[in-house]
Symmetry: C2
Subunit: 228 residues, 2 copies
């Protein structure tokens, strides 16, 4: 008898194929928690006691070192995080904070490991998710090492354009300072980078991005299947 509050995740790729028995075993001891915006839920270095799933809201994964901080990624609803640390029973390498009011489902890591060992469909889904995250991170690193900051921004604008239904005008999903950090630059430089992209067919007004010349922007960005 699956508790209703977990029904929302039953259809996620990670849980869809597993047996009902496994799902019940997995969610036994799991719970839902509401967080206010800008709340650090997880600090790097802590044990990964729970697999986290964003049910609603928005979470940023970030890391710090000697008073520097960098944004690694931003997660929206139905995303999982802390999966790798959960599987290996290690400490988290990243911290997590809410960017908005968020509902987070937390599943005891021990459950995840136990069910992994007994439910082949779940095991497959876990591997799929891990491999996906790994490949996304490799892409991210290639982006960082092979492109200049302006090229990264140009490709980011194109990717968002694609994600938002090919709309030529759309809202940035995150604050500019976080976008800057994600792209490996300072807020000041992001501002200048937007200016630099003006002649390449990009107009910015607050949070609103408008692609005025997609051909020109694409020619500059040179998006790549193996990075973006």
């Amino acid at each position: 008898m699956t508790l209703e509050r977990f029904e929302s995740i039953r259809e996620l790729p990670l849980f869809a194929e597993m047996t009902g028995v496994s799902f019940d075993a997995l969610t036994r001891g799991a719970f839902v928690q509401n967080f206010p915006p800008n709340m650090v839920m997880i600090s790097e270095g802590e044990a990964a006691d729970f697999l986290h799933i964003v049910q609603s809201g928005c979470v940023e994964l970030f890391s710090t070192w000697t008073n520097r901080e960098t944004s690694v990624t931003t997660l929206y609803e139905n995303s999982t995080f802390i999966l790798a640390a959960t599987m290996k029973d290690r400490v988290n390498l990243m911290s997590a904070r809410t960017l908005q009011k968020s509902r987070i489902i937390m599943i005891p890591s021990e459950n995840v490991r136990n069910v992994f060992a007994t439910d082949p469909a779940f095991a497959l889904a876990i591997v799929d998710e891990l491999a996906r995250c790994y490949r996304a991170t490799i892409r991210n690193m290639k982006n960082l090492k092979l492109r200049t900051s302006i090229e990264r921004l140009a490709n980011y604008i194109l990717k968002q354009h694609h994600r938002q239904g090919e709309a030529l005008s759309y809202q940035l999903p995150v604050e500019k300072r976080r976008l800057a950090s994600y792209l490996g630059m300072t807020p000041e430089n992001l501002s200048r980078a937007f200016n630099n992209l003006k002649p390449h067919g990009v107009a910015v007004d607050g949070q609103t991005i408008t692609i005025s010349d997609k051909t020109k922007l694409t020619a500059f960005a040179k998006p790549d299947m193996l990075i973006d």
Copy 2:
């Protein structure tokens, strides 16, 4: 009846716990190939038809974009690569070349996926390896985004020192130009970075690194459990 040429990998963590039947199924159709140095075995964008294992020698994973190239990692014996692409049946995101004469074991990706589905011990090992690679990449990215090039070099020197049995003097395992690329800098800058580390207790002569003042170097590098 396992073929003798695969005995060398039977004890690797990835294969040690699986059943003999599974191991036979896995290595059916697998083969060993010898490559000369500096040979590109795999190009990014190609299908991942085989899981690769370095039996002897040394392999560099790298990526290119618009005539730029970056070194992602260097693998030595008993390392596997192309695991994520193999599991997801996707194209490779990185290219691979030998740095030395190398023996590579190649296992058909289909075998890996089939045995994964039937052997829980192997499934667990796969997840373990994937999670390990993922976490290593996250560390790598934190290193790149949170540290300056000189700090990255300082920490690299300390890490090699540790890997080579705490020897205060040791040989660099790779060419400096590849190290530079791995660390996200140019060969020229790596040279200058070594000079910058002189007052922090590092001496360089060709491929030989000598740590003359480990305390000072550590104080500068500030190595971190969650990055290094």
